[in-house]
Amino acid sequence: MDKTKTIDIPSLLNSLHTRREFLTLFGKGLGYTALAATLPACGGGGGDDTEPPAPVDQIPVASKEYTTLKRTSFGVHRDELETINNMGIDAYLEQQLDHLSINDGNLESSLKSLFPLAFQTPTQLYAGFPENITDTYHDVISATQYRQIFSKRQLYEVMVEFWSDHFNIHLLNGLGPTLKPTDDLQVIRANALGNFQNLLQASASSPSMLFYLDNFFNQASAPNENYARELMELHTLGVDGGYTETDIKEVARCFTGWSIRFPNDPNGNYGDFIFNPLIHDNDEKTILGNTIAAGGGQTDGTQVLNILATHPSTAQFIARKLCIRFISDQPDQSTIDTVAQAFITSNGEIIDTLRALFSTNAFRNTSDQKLCRPSEYLAGMIRALAPDTDYPSDTGALFILAQSILGQLPFNWATPDGYPDTQSYWENTGGLLNRWRLSFLSYSSVGTIPIIDVFQIDYSAMLNGADTLLTMVDALSDRILMRPLADKDRELLLDWLTTETGQSDSTPLPAVTVDQLTPLIAAVLLSSAYYQLR
């Protein structure tokens, strides 16, 4: 695993952001006096509801197009919903799989100027190390979050996140801040929709990985097994994939001498991969029944990677994880087999594997199978509100703060297994409470994490003239949830609002009240299960 120094996120954030003063405000709310002041005194409320309850109390199923977007993006965006409704699901997914065909505007060039450290080489980053750790952390996380929110290549970004978890590296780990940005660009992003074998080879020789899992120390005289074990358990075969403790030792021997160039090496650039034959174990090894002949040098490792990448256990392991990502926490074996077969047949082509997954009955005909993760929750809130704005330059720390509260800050999972993607991990009291608070604090008019200000979200456009509680609830649920609201939930929302305001649900409200209520209703919708299901 790691040898992490623990970083105190809140103090890091405080030191990181000097331009705005909101960072200490979370947890010390301003009080909701502004709303109260604009409202008439409470009195009565709208008549009690005496209609019989709906026969089945459940959340109505969303459209297949909505479900497809929810699963293959960081949250449904109204423009993309329109696109998939027009194109059809098949054509939409094909376009997403061919991610370079999608015009992403000036996103990457904007990121380069907004977050330059996310694009620097190890040598460049080392020149400012360790003073630049906080800035590097800020830039590399912000670039990731911006792509999740703004990129039109949403499936690609979902797969970037998937592989970042699969080949997890903790950023704040020794020299990690100087190395991980390059791994992100050249290993993960370069291969996220490419070929698994290439991805695995790139990861194995990535200085960031060699450092994180200690292989840079691995030498013939006394091997270090850390990378060898996680390579088989987490990157390829899976823990039940059929390897033994002896295989781990043999794989560790194969990777002896795979190391990195250290700072101030006169023979080359810091952070380059090197193979050091002097500390490589050149004797014969046996891996999963395959003989690695003596004298193979660096090819020992590449042979191991080939054996592992093409092993049937790897196909099963990757297929299962993909099904858990795109379908449900308990995918059925026949679906996994279909995906695994495509992985094998295509020699690990990720696009072909995903295409097979997207054609399964389980993907096409189920929905709302699990709780979305915090990254989708956070990026999705912006996407749902679809701000009509350029990329703001002053929100990086805001998103970092929000995501550190939600608990899925990119590159911040310490152990090599990556963030879990199961509901049992994410569904808990503290997690749900933090999502509720965040939607309120970010989007209400008194929020202390004013994402709403930064993005200049235009609520009035969403309302489209609605000025009664009834029309406001309808307009906002249509616009923000983009899926049908149960009659019962609509009634409950109206009951709440009529009680809070003392107005009937059909009385036109003064503009100032509409302005105060709109973000509050938006926050409640974003807190609801409607929004949180994937």
Partner: protein, 373 residues
């Protein structure tokens, strides 16, 4: 209202904590043969172990625990673990938390099973607390454990409450809609917290908690215990024990953090400690022989600590298996001579009240070590 329920606090050392450099078997010459570069020196030497009984010595970073040991309220159990045979962190943590050796046998945690069968009349959301962002496997099977990473931020801002947000959330997350149990539990926890205000409780007796994650978690455990909330079980993690390289430096930091945090907690609790049992353990130990990076790879047996009221402390419980090659598990690991479930069973039996331990550990027969007086 005071809470007289006995309380169990479990600290899981994630990452496979080395037991051999924490409780040093300095009387076994093989220890120095197999760890020539990373061993802790014998007592009396520079940075040497703190002698306990002529055979074992504490790592010097554990010094703050020595007075608790001497007061008879800390017992240490060496060469312990769950004999699951896995050297994978993730599988092993899972198996240890379930208290099983065969992954297919039970899908609940050992504490979860205990709490489910000992379903006492307490209906508080604070009966079972995980001080972290998630509910650990060990609590699976228990009714709605609370996950809370920070007491202070586990609240609604007044503005949210004034806007009637909790009541509309209670409506929207009604049974049987998705996440309703979790949501209702969060809402009632908020209610209880707003009355009990544990975040306002200050450490007593001059206790100084380290500002590390572990220090902060134990401080909050102390606040919950001293509040009126009827807490019964608290789980928390100590992270970062996977010392494949440069073990001497890293374990110095980790043990020092552990000892300082536990010492502060012990000081803070004062007489409350009489109703508390603190159990500290890991998923497996580390290889006896050092590797080429001044670290150790994954192993088997390790160390557990039991602190608190009624502990028959001031002693090391162990049948020392020896460190010669032929004494070792797979010829390289410290053998497990005391099953960790023995310790856990004894805690349930003696401290948490007359429960049928065999239902908690159905595949395991327990005979007490005598950890409690």
């Amino acid at each position: 209202m005071t809470n007289n329920q006995n309380i169990l606090i479990c600290i899981f050392q994630r990452g496979a904590a080395d037991g051999l450099n924490a409780l040093v078997p300095y009387g076994d010459p093989e220890y120095y043969n197999k760890r020539p570069a990373i061993a802790v020196a014998k007592p009396g030497n520079l940075n040497g172990a703190i002698d306990l009984d002529g055979f074992y010595g504490m790592h010097p970073a554990l010094a703050p625990l020595k007075s608790i040991y001497d007061a008879g309220e800390l017992a240490m159990v060496h060469a312990t673990g769950v004999p699951h045979g896995s050297r994978s962190h993730f599988s092993a943590q899972d198996l240890v938390e379930r208290g099983i050796t065969d992954k297919f046998s039970l899908n609940t945690g050992w504490l979860g099973r205990h709490l489910a069968q000992d379903n006492n009349a307490i209906t508080s959301a604070f009966r079972i607390v995980s001080i972290s962002g998630n509910v650990p496997v060990v609590l699976e099977g228990a009714e709605e454990p609370l996950a809370l990473s920070d007491i202070e931020s586990f609240s609604f801002d007044q503005g949210i409450i004034d806007a009637g947000y909790p009541s509309i959330l209670a409506d929207l997350f009604r049974t049987p809609l998705p996440f309703s149990n979790t949501a209702q539990s969060a809402l009632s926890a908020l209610d209880e917290l707003s009355t009990a205000k544990p975040g306002d409780i200050k450490p007593d007796n001059g206790a100084l908690y380290p500002t590390t994650p572990l220090g902060k978690k134990l401080k909050q455990a102390g606040q919950l215990i001293k509040s009126t909330l009827p807490v019964e079980v608290i789980c928390l993690d100590s992270d970062g024990w996977d010392h494949h390289e440069s073990l001497p430096g890293f374990i110095q930091q980790s043990l020092s953090d552990l000892a300082n945090a536990v010492d502060a907690f012990y000081t803070d609790m004062g007489t409350n400690m009489q109703k508390i049992t603190l159990l500290i353990h890991t998923e497996f130990g580390r290889r006896v022989a050092e590797n080429g990076s001044l670290g150790t790879d994954h192993g088997t047996g390790s160390l557990a600590y039991v602190l608190g009221g009624g502990v028959n402390g001031g002693q090391v419980f162990s049948q020392w298996p020896g460190l010669r090659d032929q004494d070792l598990e797979m010829n390289e690991d410290l053998k497990i001579t005391t099953d960790l479930r023995t310790i856990q069973s004894e805690i349930l039996d003696k401290r948490l009240g007359g429960i049928d331990v065999n239902t908690v550990f159905p595949d395991f027969t327990y005979s007490p070590l005598g950890l409690f007086t």
